[in-house]
């Protein structure tokens, strides 16, 4: 539960890469995929989605590539995730979506909605610039996490 999809992960890595490597230079899909060992075709789709969502600008042609469409501090992590995985929803019956039959009798909608707001805040308040502020390549941090795992993320 609460897991980020790989695609969203890739998206964030790419956004950080683009933020760090200057807003001047355009980076190609291939360059980024090699830098982080991401399958090219998959990353390509991710970058295309980000471009379609307006978070990146693309330039075709021999020296083309992608650039951030806005300054890094003005792009939130939430935006990136939503561009890839769609709206952030915590439950099946998110808000209006009447696709929950049983949820007419559901008793936890409102409290969960409050929690969701806090999560969305956390994601909205951190920007791509914040990602880039950390060391370019993160240092290893280690814990133990055995067995089943609930994930926090964009819901793959």
């Amino acid at each position: 539960m609460l897991r980020l999809s790989k695609r969203a992960d890739y998206a964030l890595m790419a956004m950080k890469h683009l933020a760090v490597n200057g807003p001047l230079r355009a980076a190609s899909t291939r360059e980024i995929s090699q830098a982080y060992d991401i399958p090219v075709e998959l990353l390509a789709k991710v970058l295309q989605r980000l471009a379609r969502a307006g978070l990146l600008t693309s330039q075709q042609g021999i020296h083309g590539g992608y650039q951030l469409s806005r300054p890094a501090p003005q792009i939130s992590v939430a935006e990136v995730i939503e561009a890839i995985d769609g709206p952030l929803t915590m439950t099946a019956c998110s808000e209006v979506d009447e696709s929950c039959d049983q949820y007419s009798r559901c008793n936890v909608r409102d409290p969960l909605w409050r929690i969701k707001k806090r999560i969305v805040s956390a994601l909205s308040e951190s920007s791509v610039a914040d990602l880039a502020a950390d060391s370019a390549v993160s240092s290893p941090v280690m814990f133990h996490s055995p067995g089943r795992e609930a994930t926090v993320g964009t819901g793959q």
Copy 2:
């Protein structure tokens, strides 16, 4: 992304039900499943997991059922979710888990970890009692949420 599994949802609904219907009375799987229209066998598994995790006490026999093992304010939403879906992890390479090959070069681990901490806080700070504080049956709240959806949840 960020979606809660149905099972986790059911777990929270059941926990609230048990919190509201007094810590005195034991509620059976059947009673809860009927109250919220949840498939009995599925709910049964969920409740058994909660019991095994120590969040519920169970009593077999003709007038058996489940009760909260602790006062509702002392049971966090995070505990419930983790009992069902396992540890809250945001990324594949959560903390120690070296199961990410490429993530040796990953550049967003640390910043994401910080975000994860905020999310875990949000989930740890709300208790089952908070869930129960809302109206027993939540009032309809409506937004629009079209198309793809990122989910906030226990990661499955």
